[in-house]
């Protein structure tokens, strides 16, 4: 071998060594110096996390009857940022799920501009669709089949205002502090009633799976798995059988009253809605609570359709979502118990004080006539008779007396209204409770601040308020609470709907604890005087006698008060408030019908029917 070639071999050898060193240096840089970075990237690129939804807690009535159940179903969810703009995927989904392409597109694109990570396209899909989607997953990027739980309402629309409904979490909610944590796009949350109030109890805890996937996103191994914890169950104070009777009686009466014409006119009563509350005065349990018109929570299962939603929000349908039991209306004469107690307590009247009712009262001057509902007048009455006959003129004078007593410096009628719970929340555990309005000087000044001449509290305002008129507004539930205060001789309980919260084994919470009552320190003697009057309302000559004629009031004495409230621009609002049996009160029943005229003739029958059911009277 010549020396030229020998040199070339030497060059070759050094070249070999150098190349190997370059390769090794490069590897050292990648593996030793940046190894951890690469390892992190690598594990990120192959691990996926998936939440497993937890079954929502069930809801039972006070007798353990199942009202609302969670059932597992399959749903199609998409990641809007991936699917948006991918026409093929949306077309396949449209064909497979039977939803119009434009609906899917709209939903996906609306969600894409927001920050939703996942939206549900359709819930409760059939097995064939599940198989189709899973088998064609390579053609459907960003689409997945997820497990969700649907609500099943065993009693249809019964108690729907109490139970509420669930729906997909909205973007605003998802962003809000309350929901930010633990929720993700596509989640179902309580949107009304108990479903909303007890969201945190019912929802349970989501599970989580961390798993590794292959390049086709097929799971290959599970790294970490956390089982979901199902939500806790609610046991209500509601008796679903009673609720049914209450709702049916309310509905029946509404239909009947709609057949009646306003006296001396050709106009039919509109009866745009109504509410009934059945309360247990001894502990504050709400046994039944009905509101009409109602809605079917089933409509929300699997996402409410646009038509249904618009229908529910159409003013012509009188706002079915509104729970009228906790919405406020002018109370009319059922409020007179407050005026009566105030008058007695402040010494404006005594049991024996009599006033003469001549049909009109000119106590505020000749230019201000105040009339009684009975134009002919009631003649001379004491407080018991005034309650029995619901004499307005008697109560005008009591109210006026209260006004004059401290020159209206203390607004005594307002004070007693508030003692009985008006103008504030009852604390019931469903959302949307209206506090109503106890009008006073301050309110009026604020309300009429642009009309200086009206921003004054007139004596006439107090006189009006003394018979439950004017700007006073109360909710049927507040009224039921006020009557339970009378029935209880001054003890006020917080009304509640949740009897117990349970998990699989234990009772976690019991509602209506002993601390939640309030002794209002009322004079028992005065309450007994009022009760005497209320008891006579259902008796001969009372304003509800015609309804309770056949009711065995001797065995089950009923304390009641009728009310007919004038509402500017509308037909009269009819009220009936009652409790029974007097002496050992078990039930308070308050009913209200919008634009239905007289409470005595139109609402009392509802209560009478319910009492018959409750006391097993045929």
């Amino acid at each position: 071998m010549n020396s030229n070639i020998r040199i070339r071999f030497k060059i070759l050898f050094y070249l070999l060594v150098m190349i190997l060193i370059v390769l090794i240096l490069r590897l050292y840089f990648m593996q030793v110096m940046s190894g951890e970075l690469y390892a992190e990237l690598a594990s990120e690129s192959i691990t996926r996390e998936k939440t497993i939804s937890a079954p929502r807690g069930d809801i039972y009535d006070c007798n353990g009857k199942l009202l609302v159940k969670s059932i597992p179903v399959k749903a199609v969810a998409v990641q809007p940022n991936i699917v948006s703009g991918n026409e093929d995927v949306m077309r396949i989904l449209s064909d497979c799920l039977g939803i119009s392409y434009y609906k899917i597109k709209k939903k996906v694109e609306e969600s894409n501009v927001s920050y939703m990570d996942k939206v549900i396209i359709k819930q409760d899909i059939d097995t064939a669709s599940v198989i189709y989607i899973e088998e064609n997953s390579d053609k459907l990027p960003g689409v997945e089949v997820v497990d969700v739980y649907l609500r099943q309402y065993k009693y249809g629309s019964l108690a729907s205002h109490i139970l509420g409904y669930i729906g997909e979490i909205s973007e605003e909610k998802l962003k809000s502090e309350e929901y930010n944590y633990n929720y993700e796009g596509g989640d179902q949350i309580g949107l009304g009633g108990l479903e909303e109030t007890y969201e945190s109890v019912l929802r349970g805890k989501k599970g989580k799976v961390v798993y590794e996937v292959d390049p086709l996103e097929r799971p290959v191994s599970i790294i970490q798995e956390k089982e979901p914890i199902s939500g806790n169950d609610l046991y209500l104070t509601i008796d679903i059988d009673l609720q049914k009777v209450v709702e049916e009686s309310l509905y029946q009466s509404i239909l009947e009253v709609r057949q009646k014409k306003i006296k001396d006119t050709d106009e039919y009563y509109k009866v745009t809605g109504g509410a009934v509350v059945v309360l247990s005065p001894g502990d504050g349990q709400i046994l039944a609570m009905a509101s009409y018109p109602t809605y079917d929570p089933e409509l929300f299962v699997g996402g409410i359709s646009e038509d249904d939603w618009n229908n529910l929000n159409d003013p012509d349908n009188h706002y079915p979502f509104l729970n009228r039991a906790i919405s406020s209306f002018p109370p009319g004469s059922v409020f007179k118990i407050v005026t009566a107690y105030g008058g007695l307590n402040e010494g404006v009247i005594t049991e024996g004080s009599s006033f003469n009712c001549a049909g009109v009262w000119y106590g505020l001057g000749g230019n201000f006539p105040y009339s009684c509902w009975l134009k002919s007048g009631h003649g001379s009455l004491n407080i018991v008779g005034a309650i029995k006959n619901s004499c307005d003129i008697y109560f005008y004078q009591v109210g006026y007396g209260l006004l004059k007593k401290l020159n209206n410096t203390e607004e005594l009628l307002q004070k007693y209204s508030r003692i009985f719970g008006f103008g504030s929340e009852t604390g019931v555990d469903i959302p949307g409770e209206d506090i109503g309005l106890v009008p006073d000087k301050e309110w009026k000044e604020e309300y009429f601040k642009d009309q200086k001449e009206n921003a004054v509290w007139f004596p006439g305002d107090t006189v009006n308020m003394s018979i439950g008129q004017g700007d006073l507004k109360v909710t049927p539930l507040q009224m039921a609470l006020a009557y339970s205060v009378i029935a209880n001789r001054g003890i006020k309980y917080r009304p509640y709907l949740i009897k117990e919260i349970r998990d699989d084994e234990d009772v976690l919470f019991t509602g209506g604890s002993a601390e939640e009552y309030q002794d209002l320190q009322l004079e028992k003697d005065f309450i007994e005087i009022i009760e005497k009057g209320l008891t006579q309302v259902a008796g001969p000559g009372g304003t509800a006698y015609s309804v309770f004629m056949d009711f065995p009031v001797d065995e089950i004495p009923v304390a009641a008060k009728t009310g007919t409230a004038e509402f500017y621009g509308k037909q009269d609002y009819a009220w009936f408030a009652s409790y029974a049996p007097v002496g050992d009160p078990e039930y308070v029943i308050v009913g209200m019908l919008e634009q239905a005229g007289s409470g005595g003739s139109n609402v009392a029958p509802i209560a009478e029917k319910i009492y018959r059911y409750l006391f097993n009277i045929d």
């Binding site: 030229n4 390769l23 590897l27 951890e36």
Partner: protein, 399 residues
């Protein structure tokens, strides 16, 4: 055979009184055996979990590779009985065989990843371009070595032209498939052989220049496809193409190797590779599996072993006693070295992604068997060198 024939008149012990040595390079032999066996294990690791190509038996690739290894060793041993000088004499047979097999693949072969490189022989598939690497080296070594009528070994213009014709024939045949990676290897091996044969640098530079010129021409004329260009672009700017094609391959390969760290994730425990994130992880990207599972340490050991194999080839070539043997040994070394550099280089992002296997390690019979044949040739040179040398000494003493 020849040895036995020589035994009587030219028996070493009877003439020189020197103790007979065993004329094998055991370092080379055991390194090759070790790296090939190691390859079988790594292939098993890469294929047992995710089975490419609709295979259901997790040991399918393991078994296949073991059979190839056994077949390769049998051929390797059988090769030792043929004196390489016979091969020199009949080099044109290898030329015909090589070109014919490459022609056959163009006619009867089937396509994988856009290249018609495979022939299905029912019981197995072969890739003639792999064997042709060895065949081409044999032909080039014969052409560039000292011709019989020459007094001394010189690289004449004639030899350069013939060698150019030979290597161009091989290159054109694989370019038609088209398999640019293998053609590149052929080209590198040819240039290196010219270099080591002692050819004038002028020849080397002009051939190199001509090639670059024709590639430039081919690109302008549209003969080079866009994806070929992309692979080069990806190398220059891989982060621009992380999701598709070569960019994806490279990204996943780098993730796999980088995440291996110093000691690796452990044999059979490489996630990126075992889950098929790295495409072709049992063939072209087998080094990603090694890097991920055995870490920097394992990768360095593999590189060093491959380096030692190449070094032994060069060493044997340099101590051989004739120019054909020298060129043959160096040629086999170039085949291995160029493939090692390009293959490992592409998995760590310093070389373009061209589909060429890693010698002794990538799954596939043609690669393993042709490499073992190549090493068989080198061992053959070593063995017959000694005999020839001693034979000559003995002969001269006899004279």
């Amino acid at each position: 055979m020849i040895r036995r024939k020589n035994k009587n008149p030219f028996d070493l012990e009877s003439y020189g009184g020197e103790k007979k040595t065993i004329n094998y390079d055991f370092i080379l032999f055991f390194m090759v055996l070790a790296i090939s066996s190691f390859g079988v294990i790594v292939i098993y690791s890469a294929t047992r979990g995710t089975l490419p190509g609709g295979v259901t038996d997790p040991q399918y690739y393991l078994k296949k590779q073991l059979i190839y290894l056994a077949a390769g060793i049998v051929l390797f041993v059988a090769f030792q009985f043929i004196n390489y000088r016979k091969i020199e004499r009949y080099w044109w047979l290898f030329f015909i065989a090589g070109i014919a097999s490459l022609a056959a693949v163009l006619l009867f072969g089937y396509e994988v990843h856009g290249s018609r490189s495979w022939i299905d022989l029912e019981f197995t598939t072969i890739q003639p371009s792999e064997f042709s690497k060895i065949f081409m080296v044999i032909c080039l070594a014969a052409v560039l070595s000292k011709w019989k009528r020459e007094k001394e070994h010189r690289i004449t213009f004639k030899k350069v032209i013939i060698s150019l014709a030979v290597s161009l024939s091989f290159m054109m045949m694989v370019l038609l498939q088209p398999d640019y990676g293998t053609a590149l290897i052929y080209f590198i091996v040819y240039i290196c052989l010219l270099f080591i044969s002692g050819a004038n640098f002028l020849y080397i530079i002009s051939i190199f220049g001509m090639t670059v010129g024709s590639i430039f021409f081919a690109f302008n004329a549209g003969y080079i496809k866009q994806y070929q260009l992309d692979r080069i672009l990806v190398l220059l700017k891989p982060e621009a193409y992380p999701d598709e094609g070569a960019g994806y391959n490279l990204f996943q390969s780098k993730l796999a190797i980088g995440s291996g760290g110093l000691l690796g994730k452990g044999l059979f425990l490489g996630k990126q590779t075992n889950l098929s994130y790295v495409p072709e992880h049992h063939t072209d990207f087998i080094f990603s599996v090694i890097g991920e599972e055995l870490g920097f340490l394992g990768a360095v050991i593999v590189i060093v072993v491959l380096g030692v194999i190449v070094w032994r080839c060069f060493y044997i070539a340099s101590v051989s006693s004739d120019s054909f043997a020298m060129l043959l040994g160096a040629g086999v070394g170039f085949i291995i070295l160029s493939q090692v550099i390009i293959n490992i280089g592409m998995t760590i992002g310093i070389m373009p992604i061209v589909g060429i296997p890693l010698p002794f390690l990538s799954s596939g019979g043609s690669n393993l068997i042709s490499m073992l044949l190549g090493i068989g040739l080198v061992e053959n040179i070593y063995r017959w060198r000694e005999v020839r040398k001693e034979h000559e000494i003995a002969y001269q003493q006899f004279k």
